[in-house]
């Protein structure tokens, strides 16, 4: 820590007893669901971050003027995955407490940690939640719910919500509470989890489930396996090996193709 950092440190006498309570962290957890509400192209989640952290700031800085200065500083640029933002919130809450009680952490250090954690956690969150867990939850819910279709129509959506949000809520809870206690040590902890390897297994399971569902659908297709035999490999080829052909393009191509074949009397 250089001289400037030392001069910037908190921790004057009388502040040692200030501590964040569990109820404050619970409030942060609930408020963090609204982190995207003010998302803007200028500073992205900055207002949402401040709103989420507010119960902690209110506890640690009872003096309104001091709290105003700290809050103003937290209005800087911030953007990460909405679920992984809870890890940053937990860590920043822990560091704010350290800053107030012992002065062991400077304000600049708090903001550096916040800034440097946001990017990698955004990438991690996008990979885990958007790229792997969301499609896997959908395909798993459809595969399991298939047997119940006809009896309970809302079973598949409910199962999808349950599977996805199981991990989502756990991560949000873990982020705030463990982030608070582990502080920057949360980073090596996340590295040790070897998320990339787990995600690859999720993809592999997804492939297995999708192949099973696809084969069942093809066998049930009114026009028989011959049409599916053309339809599926051609679509797979375009979707895997071309970048410009998307699912939307294929939707239009196949519909127009079926209509033309029907008009021509081929099918």
């Amino acid at each position: 820590m250089n001289n400037r950092d030392v001069s910037d440190c908190g921790g004057p006498s009388g502040r040692e007893n200030r501590s964040v309570r569990l109820v404050d962290l619970a409030r942060v957890l609930v408020r963090a669901f609204l982190i995207q509400a003010w998302w803007n192209f200028h500073r992205m989640q900055n207002v949402g971050f401040l709103f989420s952290l507010w119960p902690v700031l209110k506890r640690l800085y009872p003096d309104k003027r001091e709290r105003r200065d700290v809050a103003f500083r937290h209005l800087e640029f911030f953007n990460t995955h909405p679920c992984m933002a809870n890890v940053v919130l937990g860590v920043v809450a822990g560091l704010e407490q350290e800053h107030v009680r012992r002065g062991a952490v400077s304000r600049d250090q708090i903001h550096s940690v916040k800034e440097y954690m946001a990017g990698p956690l955004a990438a991690l969150g996008d990979t885990i939640f958007w790229a792997a867990w969301r499609p896997f939850s959908a395909i798993l819910a459809v595969a399991i719910g298939w047997h119940f279709v006809g009896k309970e129509w809302l079973f598949i959506p409910l199962l999808f919500l349950l599977i996805y949000n199981g991990l989502n809520f756990f991560m949000r809870y873990w982020g705030v509470f463990h982030g608070f206690y582990l502080k920057v040590q949360v980073i090596p902890f996340l590295v040790r989890l070897n998320v990339q390897s787990v995600v690859q297994w999720v993809y592999l399971l997804g492939i297995g489930l999708t192949v099973g569902a696809l084969m069942t659908l093809c066998l049930r297709f009114e026009k028989g396996l011959l049409w599916s035999g053309i339809f599926v490999p051609v679509s797979l080829f375009f979707l895997i090996f071309t970048k410009k052909v998307t699912s939307s393009h294929l939707l239009y191509i196949w519909v127009i193709g079926f209509v033309l074949l029907s008009v021509a009397g081929v099918i």
Binding site: L34, Q36, W38, W39, N40, F41, H42, R43, V47, L50, F51, K64, R68, P82, F129, W130, A131, R134, A138, I139, A141, V149, W153, L154, I156, P157, L161, N168, Q200, Y203, L204, G206, I207, T210, A213, L214, L217, C218, F221, K223, W227, S228, F231, V232, S235, L239, I240, T246, S247, S248, L250, L251, Y252, W254, V255, F258, V259, L260, L261, S262
Partner: protein, 224 residues
């Protein structure tokens, strides 16, 4: 099904959609209640045909699996699912034919909806100035007020857009259905049977593209 054409019913559906869609722009963003797999079956259930709602939900969820809500994502798949089912069930001939026409028409609306989101997010920059100015002045309640205003803006935007699109789209689907000859309708019905296969194929392609170790696991000599 004609009984569902009344304005009050569409207003109710728009209100439900506006609340659910807040998930993707304002609260949560990760609770996935705004995903088509949730929105479409719910709309179908409210309109009395949960089976078709589920089919639309599964198609929209899986077909656009590559559309990840990161950065400037290309389209709003929730509104695609939410509109396609309502247009289809409120049409003069609910079924696979109307469903295929509705899906095709709802894709451009999904893209248009994203432009609306981007516009609102551009306006959100005023929250920065508003919150900063009031915090400096010592008015801490500004955060709660700003939250209310933000949620209201998103809600109104989603509600109005969905409601207008339900009216316009239903009329368009009805015009298309009434002008289609029988052979075209037959082709549309067959396409309706094939689209779920396309949706699952899209998911398979997505997983295959992302699974990097598949070939090295399945073909042992490639591991060398």
């Amino acid at each position: 099904m004609m009984s569902t054409f009344f304005l009050g019913g569409w207003l109710k559906l728009s209100l439900i959609y506006a609340v659910l869609s807040l998930d993707q722009c304002a609260w949560g963003q990760g609770l996935v209640v705004s995903r088509p797999l949730v929105v479409a079956p719910l709309m179908g259930w409210l309109l009395g045909n949960p089976a078709l709602g589920l089919l639309v939900g599964v198609i929209a969820e899986l077909l656009w699996v590559r559309v990840i809500p990161v950065g400037e994502w290309p389209m709003d798949t929730a509104i695609i699912g939410g509109l396609a089912i309502v247009w289809s069930l409120c049409s003069i001939k609910p079924g696979l034919e109307s469903l295929v026409i509705s899906l095709m028409l709802s894709v451009p609306v999904g893209i248009l909806s994203r432009y609306g989101d981007i516009w609102v997010r551009r306006q959100n920059r005023w929250f920065n100035y508003w919150v900063s100015k009031n915090l400096v002045a010592g008015r801490e309640s500004i955060l709660t007020k700003a939250l209310g205003v933000s949620l209201l803006i998103w809600f109104v935007k989603n509600f109005v857009f969905y409601f207008v699109m339900v009216i316009v789209g239903t009329a368009l689907v009805n015009v298309a259905l009434s002008h289609c000859p029988a052979t075209v309708l037959r082709g549309l019905k067959l396409a309706g049977l094939a689209i779920p296969i396309l949706a699952f194929t899209a998911v398979l392609a997505y997983f295959l593209k992302r699974e990097k170790n598949l070939f090295s696991w399945t073909i042992p000599f490639l591991r060398q």
